[in-house]
């Protein structure tokens, strides 16, 4: 049963326990006294602080590279989903991964940039507005990650995270669709879903749009958050093995 007590473990680094100090002889203790100890402590503190600062400080090149990685990850999966004609977008998992690995600004910039790239290459210029949805996904993922809700050790909580992201994002995408595209489906993969709800509701475009968005977002975002979190775990494990983490 011992193994099953460690399931709640997170990949987030925990504060290490202070190392046990070997008991010193009384004579040695007298020699060192308090002052040198105080100095040693402050030095240690400053080194740790400077190390943390150094670790957290990101160069602009690093920022740009990270944002571009987010764009590429989103782009590749979106193209695959489009080719497979499946009713998922799969174009937010890169943004989610970016929010977890590199922080909110990188995820927001990467997510918005991806929408601009798609607008200029395949969706049409009007489609840049979907960038606001990516901004929200980046924010909510980052927030839930900070709150430690995203944890692959607890798949049921992950499903809940997927549902939260999906429902909130569905409201935003629905608003964008009504304002900019008249409520009609813009993605060929989800046209069948729209048609189903349209038929069930006896021709109500509002119900059809809501149904299409909620169902698609629920599946898409749950899938994306799982993929992003598991990818992060794999990366962390590999880096840990190499001693870089």
């Amino acid at each position: 049963m011992h193994y099953f007590t460690i399931i709640g473990h997170r990949m987030v680094k925990k504060a290490k326990k202070p190392k046990k100090v070997k008991p010193q002889l009384k004579s040695e203790m007298k020699e060192t006294k308090m002052e040198p100890m105080k100095e040693r402590n402050t030095a240690d503190k400053t080194t740790r602080n400077s190390k943390t600062k150094k670790g957290r400080k990101k160069s602009p090149i690093c920022f740009v590279v990270m944002a571009l990685v987010v764009v590429v990850l989103n782009y590749v999966m979106a193209q695959a989903a489009q080719w497979l004609k499946i009713p998922f977008f799969l174009d937010t998992w890169g943004t989610m991964l970016g929010a977890m690995v590199a922080g909110l600004p990188v995820a927001m910039v990467g997510g918005f940039l991806y929408n601009l790239v798609m607008a200029f290459t395949s969706w049409g210029l009007d489609a840049w507005v979907w960038g606001f949805s990516s901004l929200w996904v980046a924010f909510i993922t980052w927030y839930l990650w900070k709150k430690k809700w995203i944890d692959t050790g607890n798949p049921l909580k992950m499903v809940l995270v997927g549902v939260i992201i999906a429902l909130t994002n569905a409201a935003i995408t629905l608003a964008i669709k009504w304002v900019f595209f008249g409520g009609l489906p813009t993605y060929p993969g989800t046209a069948d879903t729209y048609q189903l709800f349209y038929t069930i509701s006896n021709g109500s475009a509002v119900v059809a749009a809501i149904g299409e968005h909620v169902l698609t977002e629920l599946a898409d975002k749950t899938m994306s958050v799982f993929v992003a979190a598991m990818m992060l775990d794999h990366l962390s494990a590999k880096l840990k093995k190499r001693g870089r983490c």
């Binding site: 011992h2 193994y3 099953f4 460690i6 399931i7 473990h9 009713p87 798949p155 599946a219 749950t222």
Partner: protein
């Protein structure tokens, strides 16, 4: 599900192959990991959990074989009967795997000190239940041409009951049995998802993508979870 030829829809072939491969590899991975853990711990719950995923591996391999044959042969009546038999063997294994998974949650309540777990009368009864469900479904399929989906009802009731029992026990004892419970809940979701698909599919074929698109994620999540439990460093947590 209406199958089309590979030339007409290479996307469907790619999608199904990806889904089945991820599921089969994940199940095999879970089986190997938990089997190794069982050898170390000799904990019977892990034995049943491991066996469940070994059975699921064979079940999904058969289902993929079924898909491949049907996909490339179209509606050839010569192989129709053998396909029905293969699909019902897969069904039998699917039910048996689910029963093993449910039993891994509640074995403490039923089992005595018997060490030969495979000879246990409970396990023989599980095999019998699976066989009866598969034969009844096959009978209805041959006679009326419609699957009654009996196995979904059986599995949802048994697995749901096992989860509920374990949940209460888990709360009372305060033990952390997350991998067992979450795997069982996710498996319940799989049965429920395929159950929904079987009713909705005739007028909404896209539901197949919604259900089967999530399956590899579910299996991979369970595999990932199990790996973390087994490979995790306990010292790091203390």
């Amino acid at each position: 599900m209406t199958f089309v030829s590979f030339e007409a829809s290479p996307q469907l072939f790619v999608f199904e192959t990806f889904v089945y491969l991820v599921i089969i590899i994940s199940c095999l991975h879970i089986f190997k990991k938990t089997d190794a853990l069982y050898r170390l711990s000799l904990q019977k719950g892990i034995r049943y959990f491991s066996a469940a995923f070994a059975i699921f591996t064979v079940c999904f391999s058969l289902m993929y074989l079924y898909f491949l044959v049907k996909f490339f042969s179209g509606a050839d009546p010569m192989i129709g009967l053998s396909l029905i038999i293969v699909s019902h063997i897969a069904l039998f294994l699917g039910v048996l795997g689910g029963l093993y998974l449910a039993y891994s949650l509640v074995w403490r309540r039923f089992e005595c000190d018997s060490t030969a777990c495979l000879k246990s009368s409970r396990l023989i009864s599980m095999i019998t239940i699976s066989a009866v469900v598969a034969i009844v479904d096959m009978y209805f399929y041959m006679a009326k041409g419609v699957s009654v989906n009996l196995y979904f009802y059986v599995m949802m009731i048994i697995l749901g009951g096992a989860i509920l029992h374990n949940w209460k026990h888990h709360k009372r004892k305060g033990a952390n049995l997350n991998p067992f419970i979450s795997s069982a809940v996710l498996s319940l979701w799989i049965y429920f998802g395929i159950f929904i698909e079987s009713y909705v599919f005739p007028f909404f074929p896209t539901v197949h993508y919604y259900i089967w698109g999530l399956l590899p994620i579910v299996f991979h999540a369970v595999a990932h979870n199990v790996t973390r439990v087994i490979d995790g460093n306990p010292e790091e947590e203390e």
